[in-house]
Symmetry: C2
Subunit: 265 residues, 2 copies
């Protein structure tokens, strides 16, 4: 039961595997048992970074060397706006070191609460028992709805049109950021997923600033909660998933005002 | 995290509260922290026993004395075939000592996976956070289905007709047990719920006997798994919920044969 999280920093190619390796070596030396390596390989939430193919191969090598499982969380897999898809870590592995998580939430409907896990049989069998103890079973009705949807429709076409919508929204957000955010702020340009992360000047605490933003009827998720080690206090996650293109423009405009006011003070 | 279960014996009036009180005193003395008292107050699964009103009042007193919460699991609440309903422990309490669990599984449809929790606000707030961390939220679609069902229909009438069906099935099972089970076996006569528990001669292990029963295409749940302390190896839970009246008769007939064979050997 329980556990302690250790954060591994990322760069533009995703998790820094050399630091992962050092960390695993240190933990082994300290006789701490590592439960698994968690990663969102595609369009990481919140940073939007995708792990390169070279890193995927390397993380697998490291996992095998230290005999640690990789939990590859892959909810945004199909939501790529540009560039070539990269094979999942799961698909690169043939020794059962990777557990892969997928979900209907991002490609069909979040309200169904349907998802899936791929992994080696031994682990899946244990997870089935654990799931039975937790909730007996996922709702049968919703499984049938998803099944019938996929049988009667081409879900890939549905995803394609979703991607088209999200691409338009991402573009709207990037344009609005260019227009309204002050030059002191930098942000990610995600190739997929739902999120842009903006990094503000270090002295600004986005958790504190949220109250001011809410007064302007606009909200974001303070970035600090995504860090395992208390960093990222000056970052914010901006979602372009739900709001309309018009609301994105208006929201970023209002946020830009709030930030400019903070920078002045 | 985690925990250790301690079983409290029952008699015809439900949990034996004097033994509960002794056990709590002993655990307190051993400086063991008790997380909560778990009870199915109505038609306990598997024994079918309902806690008397006197015991309900007493368990509440004991809980307050030791400052321990009661988790009242109440899935079979409305499924009473005869006799007067008894107020829930939750309804007798006005100091927030009881958490009550209810479910749509037994009165509308199990495949929706919908249930509810009643309790004092502080605990519910923590449970909401815990639930969000576990699964974000219960499927919105199914909540709307249950809402619309209750809005457009009289769910109490639906329950009434269900109770009528289950009463007929219980009667069929009790009649079949009289006809086919050997005199060495005794069983409960539940006033509600889904289950009859039969107790066989002590030398018969119902877990082991299950294989023979399955050969005859009839199954039951070995009673041992319902005991926290490894007892009940010679008991079996028989469900009259799903099978038809005809299948109940045939199933009990076959089980009777298997038991008679065991008793002879």
């Amino acid at each position: 039961y329980g556990g302690e999280m250790v954060g591994i920093p990322m760069d533009d190619e995703g998790m820094q595997i050399d630091i992962l390796e050092e960390t695993l070596a240190k933990l082994k030396n300290d006789r701490k048992k590592v439960k698994f390596i968690y990663t969102i390989s595609n369009f990481q939430n919140p940073a939007g970074v995708t792990m390169s193919l070279a890193r995927r191969k390397k993380i697998l090598e490291v996992a095998k060397k230290f005999e640690v499982l990789i939990l590859e969380d892959n909810p945004y897999d199909k939501l790529r706006f540009e560039g070539e898809p990269i094979p999942s870590i799961y698909s690169l592995d043939n020794e059962g070191y990777v557990i892969s998580l997928g979900t209907f939430s991002k490609i069909l409907c979040p309200g169904l609460r349907l998802a899936w896990i791929l992994g080696n049989k031994k682990i899946i069998e244990k997870l089935v028992i654990m799931k039975q103890a937790t909730d007996l079973c996922t709702t049968a009705l919703n499984q049938l709805i998803a099944y019938e949807y996929c049988r009667q429709n081409d879900i890939d076409k549905n995803i394609e049109s979703n991607v088209e919508i999200y691409r338009r929204k991402r573009n709207a957000m990037l344009e609005a950021l260019d227009k309204y955010f002050p030059v002191e702020v930098i942000w990610t340009k995600p190739q997929g997923g739902f999120f842009v992360v903006a990094t503000l000047p270090e002295h600004i605490d986005t958790g504190e600033m949220l109250k001011e933003a809410i007064k302007e009827n606009v909200a974001y998720v303070p970035g600090g909660s995504f860090f395992a080690d208390g960093k990222g206090q000056n970052t914010m996650r901006l979602s372009f998933c739900y709001p309309s293109v018009e609301d994105i423009d208006e929201g970023i405009k209002r946020l830009g005002k709030v930030i400019k006011r903070r920078i002045k003070n």
